[in-house]
């Protein structure tokens, strides 16, 4: 259960209007309880009720009606139970793409509808927990999970594949100067066809080859033997940090650890969610959780990232950093038929974990087909200025 948090309370104030999210969601919920869901079939009545119950919130009402006109409440109501975070992300993305609304305003509107609809179930009042969850401008979580549809943060050694390298308390050495990521960032290289895949191209191809051979194994299900974890120097002391699996800086894709829990939320092939752990130069280990949804054209979309310093795993949702909606781009490399998707954390709605900005690129594998997160690969590099800098680590998605 998501508890109301300081973070969610602070996120209640929105530039959508002066009325807190929870308050207007409560109003909307009461309207739905009083008049029933059937009121949503009548636009004039819905608008009239909103105006009567929130007369001073002209802007908020217009935002909610923009979402209404894009069938957001209908889509959310079609979900069984409370809408998942991913469904909310989808609706935000659609709203941004179809109406030109700013992402934060779109998210505000979707969150209000979500909270109101969740609280409007027969016989129930608007749940403070639901409202609090909706109030967060970006995905939030309780102390242990990322959300209802997301797996728990992958930190326990038992969660690791048997062969995955458990590196803590070691410290991964920085990549060599010859490493592609040392020359330029992913985004910069993406602008230059010669170097488009300098960062991840070779790595992904290696991974693809590896994956192909993996998928070509006779039983098709047995994981290949993973090599032993590379020896790594000792890390600076990080008290109380449990052993974790972190993304590898190795150039050898066979060295990359697997991170489980990647998925297409709601079985939507244009949407992805996955998570991984990165160890930074200051020895901090951050776990990142990535949501991405592509538009219908498959070339662009939006997403969001959450991050948590693993030392704060037990400190509740207050320590979860979260971004606003971020642009996502995707390239389809025709020769290798690999989808390469980019998302960069250029800003944060809140960043209590002081998560470094990262460029994340991930690939769908070696088939020209909708991305399947399992057997995908990713690499993350630290954002330095406006460019993607040194690679922090790569991994496989399972």
């Amino acid at each position: 259960m998501v508890k109301p948090t300081k973070a969610s309370k602070s996120a209640e104030t929105s530039n959508a209007g002066t009325m807190p999210v929870s308050e207007i969601a409560g109003i909307l919920g009461r309207i739905l309880q009083r008049h029933g869901m059937a009121v949503l079939e009548d636009r004039r009545r819905t608008l009239g009720l909103l105006r009567d119950h929130a007369p001073s919130e002209t802007r908020a009402v217009r935002l909610l009606m923009s979402a209404y006109d894009m069938d957001v409440p209908k889509h959310l109501a079609a979900e069984s139970g409370a809408p998942s975070q991913f469904k909310i992300e989808q609706e935000v993305n659609s709203l941004v793409a179809d109406t030109g609304l700013q992402a934060d305003l779109a998210r505000w509107a979707v969150n209000v509808w979500s909270a109101a609809l969740s609280g409007a179930a027969p016989g129930s009042a608007v749940s403070p927990a639901v409202v609090a969850a909706a109030a967060a401008a970006a995905p939030s979580a309780d102390s242990l999970t990322w959300g209802d549809d997301a797996p728990a943060v992958q930190v326990a050694p038992t969660a690791a594949p048997p062969t995955a390298p458990t590196v803590a308390p070691s410290y991964a050495p920085p990549p060599s100067s010859a490493a592609p990521t040392g020359a330029a960032g992913v985004a910069a290289m993406a602008q230059k066809p010669m170097f488009r895949f300098a960062l991840i191209g070779a790595a992904i191809i290696v991974a693809v080859v590896g994956l192909k051979s993996y998928m070509d194994t006779p039983d098709g299900s047995t994981k290949p033997a993973s090599p032993a974890a590379p020896a790594q120097p000792a890390a600076p002391a990080q008290p109380a940090a449990p052993p974790v699996i972190v993304a590898s800086t190795s150039e050898d894709a066979n060295q990359w650890p697997e991170f489980t829990g990647a998925a297409h939320p709601n079985n939507n092939p244009n949407s992805w969610q996955f998570q991984f752990n990165l160890r930074f130069a200051d020895a901090r280990v951050m776990t990142y959780n990535v949501f991405v949804a592509m538009n219908a054209n498959g070339r662009a979309g939006s997403g969001s990232v959450r991050a948590l310093d693993i030392r704060h795993l037990n400190d509740g949702a207050d320590m979860v950093s979260s971004t606003p909606s971020l642009p996502v781009s995707r390239e389809i490399e025709s020769s290798s038929k690999v989808y390469i998707t980019h998302i960069t954390t250029t800003s944060w709605d809140k960043n209590p974990s002081r998560a470094p900005n990262v460029c994340i690129v991930f690939s769908s594998g070696n088939q020209l087909r909708p991305f399947t997160p399992d057997k995908g690969v990713f690499c993350a590099s630290e954002l330095q200025g406006n460019a993607c800098g040194e690679r922090v680590g790569c991994g496989r998605l399972q």
């Binding site: 009545r45 009239g48 119950h53």
Partner: protein, 233 residues
């Protein structure tokens, strides 16, 4: 014995005619604040104009009634009051816009049984900023079926640029006459003053003075709306 002032003589046609002037006021939550305050001020300041219009036709008795509607419908001036005695009590806003219920209440009140004697077409002025939150069309249909509802001169004042003018137009029921548009406190005062006096004169005009008094009013409304004033609401 028949006297010169006896009922038989009255029955012969010398009784005064009544002109019922009904204000139906939207007091829903969307009217809160500046709108309801301006409306209260406007009606109060329109009373002298109403009395002057009534004085122009001394052979008629102008009777005023006031209906407010929000979550429920309430006659704030239930018994028709002669315009000379009419005083305005400020209304407050809050609740939903049950305009359909208001139409139904008007239909029940504007019947020959409730309005005995010789009647001029009543004048109904609907003041609303809102979008109805009940089945307004059903209420309007019932209203239009009532005898005096159909005969009434129906004026609508749309308060704010996003009022439901389509429904108000249906209430007016005349293609050429549009709702009076009031987008600011200043224009609302002017519209209410106009609506409280000019239609009263039209309704009480002698038969034959105008082939279609509503047509004349429509021209007046169009002229009023040309001066839209500042767009505030």
């Amino acid at each position: 014995m028949v006297t010169p002032n006896g009922p038989e003589l009255a029955a012969a046609g010398l009784t005064r005619r009544q002109l019922h002037f009904v204000l139906a006021v939207d007091c829903s939550g969307s009217m809160m604040g500046d709108k309801i305050a301006s409306l209260n001020y406007a009606v109060r300041s329109a009373i002298p104009a109403m009395r002057a219009a009534a004085a122009d036709n001394p052979e008629n008795d102008v009777l005023v009634r006031v209906l407010r509607f929000a979550d429920d419908v309430q006659w704030t001036v239930e018994a028709p009051v002669p315009v000379d005695q009419f005083e305005w009590s400020d209304l407050t806003a809050g609740g939903e816009t049950n305009m359909g219920a208001a139409f139904a209440a008007l239909a029940q009140a504007l019947t020959p049984e409730k309005m005995p004697g010789r009647q001029l077409p009543p004048v109904l002025v609907m003041l609303s900023d809102g979008l109805p939150t009940d089945d307004a069309e059903a209420g309007l249909a019932a209203f239009m079926k009532s005898e005096f509802g159909a005969k009434a001169i129906r004026i609508a004042v749309a308060i704010g640029s996003d009022a439901d003018k389509t429904l108000l137009q249906s209430f007016i029921g005349h293609l050429d006459m549009k709702p009076l548009q009031a987008n600011s406190a200043e224009t609302l005062v002017n519209r209410i003053k106009w609506a409280a006096s000019v239609p009263m004169k039209a309704a009480s005009a002698p038969v034959g003075a105008s082939a279609d008094p509503v047509q004349n009013l429509a021209q007046g409304v169009a002229s009023e709306n040309e001066n839209g004033g500042e767009l505030v609401w």
